[in-house]
Symmetry: C2
Subunit: 333 residues, 2 copies
């Protein structure tokens, strides 16, 4: 295992020190491993928190800031944060208008966020609504989930719901925006290599030199099938066609097209992929209104990609275009 780390047991805590040092707009609660806006809580604004196991950076900590998340809870690598973390984060960002929990559909995360919401209501009377993302079309149930896994749509949801909250909308309105994003988004991923969890010290799974894992999860969970190595064009078809068929997306739909790198894949390859994805969408009459190309929801050092499509209307687009100021997504400010 070759990694830029010190103690494999201490990677998350040390990365949080780096994030705190690099980003003056953000504070870190090291005890609870929470990254939060330095200006939290914002009086009268719905607070939005998310979180999950680490190893998916920049998700979620890199999306904390104006127009997106108010706080993110970092679990250990690929391990859900505990309810105390989400409880502390909820209190940190509650400006009196309630708090939205954005939860990727993994059993541990769902359970722990639920417990935190109950504790918050009991302790401080905080209003909490949870929205669970489950956009991965690859498999119905999975190693760590009942139902579909939450993946790339989470990034888009955090941006779009974040903009709605910034506009001063109510908790129920922000939650409804978030639910609509999840309902209109679909994703699928593919691994060229395994990732290596620092504390494990060896690859999570074995993959032959001529094999890919189609439908891989962001923790290296098995997908639909092992398939032989293929070209970017073939890979794009393997990912985009099931995504298109699932919603379904149809001729005339407008989408945000998000081609994501899984951590070990360079940007050059992601643009080759984006060209293929865009070609397929054009062939289906699906119009790309906005695009996002880069490594935004990763699986440590895994080489591979995922494709997320989100069907949008003008209202959703205007929320997407609204100003955002976070370490990983920034525009308009």
């Amino acid at each position: 295992m070759k990694k830029l780390i010190n103690d494999p047991q201490n990677v998350v805590a040390e990365a949080l020190l780096g994030i705190e040092a690099a980003h003056p707009d953000l504070n870190v609660d090291h005890q609870h491993k929470i990254i939060y806006r330095a200006d939290a809580p914002r009086r009268g604004k719905v607070g939005i928190i998310s979180g999950g196991g680490s190893g998916h950076e920049p998700l979620h900590g890199g999306f904390v800031g104006l127009g997106m998340l108010d706080a993110a809870c970092a679990g250990e690598v690929f391990t859900s944060p505990v309810p105390d973390q989400m409880l502390a984060a909820t209190k940190l960002v509650d400006g009196g208008a309630g708090v939205l929990h954005v939860v990727k559909n993994y059993t541990g995360d769902v359970m722990n966020f639920e417990m935190a919401a109950e504790l918050a209501a009991a302790e401080s009377g905080a209003q909490v609504v949870s929205v669970v993302t489950d956009d991965d079309v690859a498999v119905q149930d999975s190693t760590w989930t009942a139902g579909r896994r939450g993946v790339g749509v989470t990034v888009l949801l955090e941006k779009i719901a974040g903009a709605a909250a910034e506009q001063g909308r109510s908790l129920e309105q922000v939650a409804e925006v978030a639910r609509q994003v999840n309902a209109n988004g679909r994703s699928m991923g593919l691994a060229l290599t395994s990732c290596t969890v620092p504390a494990a010290g060896k690859p999570t799974f074995e993959l032959g030199e001529d094999e890919m894992e189609l439908g891989v999860g962001i923790h290296g969970e098995p997908g639909r099938q092992r398939v032989p190595m293929a070209t970017a064009r073939e890979i794009a078809e393997m990912l985009v066609e099931p995504v298109l068929a699932d919603l379904p997306f149809t001729n005339g739909d407008k989408v945000i097209a998000f081609v994501n790198g899984l951590g070990g894949t360079p940007l050059l390859e992601l643009y080759v992929m984006y060209n293929e994805v865009n070609r397929i969408l054009t062939g289906h009459g699906v119009q790309v209104a906005r695009s996002l190309v880069g490594s935004y929801i990763t699986s440590l050092d895994m080489a591979g990609t995922s494709v997320t499509l989100l069907k949008v209307d003008d209202e959703t687009l205007s929320l997407w275009d609204a100003p955002v100021k976070t370490p990983a997504l920034r525009w308009g400010i």
Copy 2:
């Protein structure tokens, strides 16, 4: 070799199609492999172009846009663009105020940019000034250079000189800003793994499971020495101390601290590195005025990192903070 590509010979051309599709503010001249601002040339503004071999993305194409480059020429992977490309780019962006060529110090790049400048002067009377970056302290001469290699400072220079050009400064003034950035910046890198050039199909160099290449170049050129695997803390010392000693940076200096990933290294590890770099700088009394953490000048899929420090004054910081709107760096707009 596992890559998200189609034909290894066609990677750059296809990535350019992807970049064009993903970024409506940019145009691509596919014949000359030039990415340029859709609003070029800007009348009365100094044009800034750069370029070099591909494989370092987002450098340079990802830095084209308002407040940074007007155009970038893409060579084949790790191969200098030819003079015709820089000539065409120079003409595309010449708004009558002259054109700055930003050239990383590699023999092919320097020679070809020089020839393009002569051709441009002869053909269109364009005023061209070249500034060469040579910030890599690792080795004095190298596989592809006489003198030091140009690396991370190039990113900072393109941003800062781009802001100066956007303010309407003269060609000589913008060039002087660029020269000062190069003079005040130093870098050094380290590889955990080799990169693999698509057309070669195998790693550029061999590196044992317990070895790192200290002072590696961005094409996998040999550095100072092979050293045993070490912790992030030790690696930060190996990189930062020679950089600090070279300028030298001293107690009370203000810097932009740039911790860069080489393409295959995830963000989580870069933040662990940033924490160590920041700690060392603090120990030397060097004040980090701004930071940049991410993969901005890469070497295909190489795992590893580089550290760049740039000594800054308030004037340089205000140019750094000025609005920029490119695919890879964006703020203030």
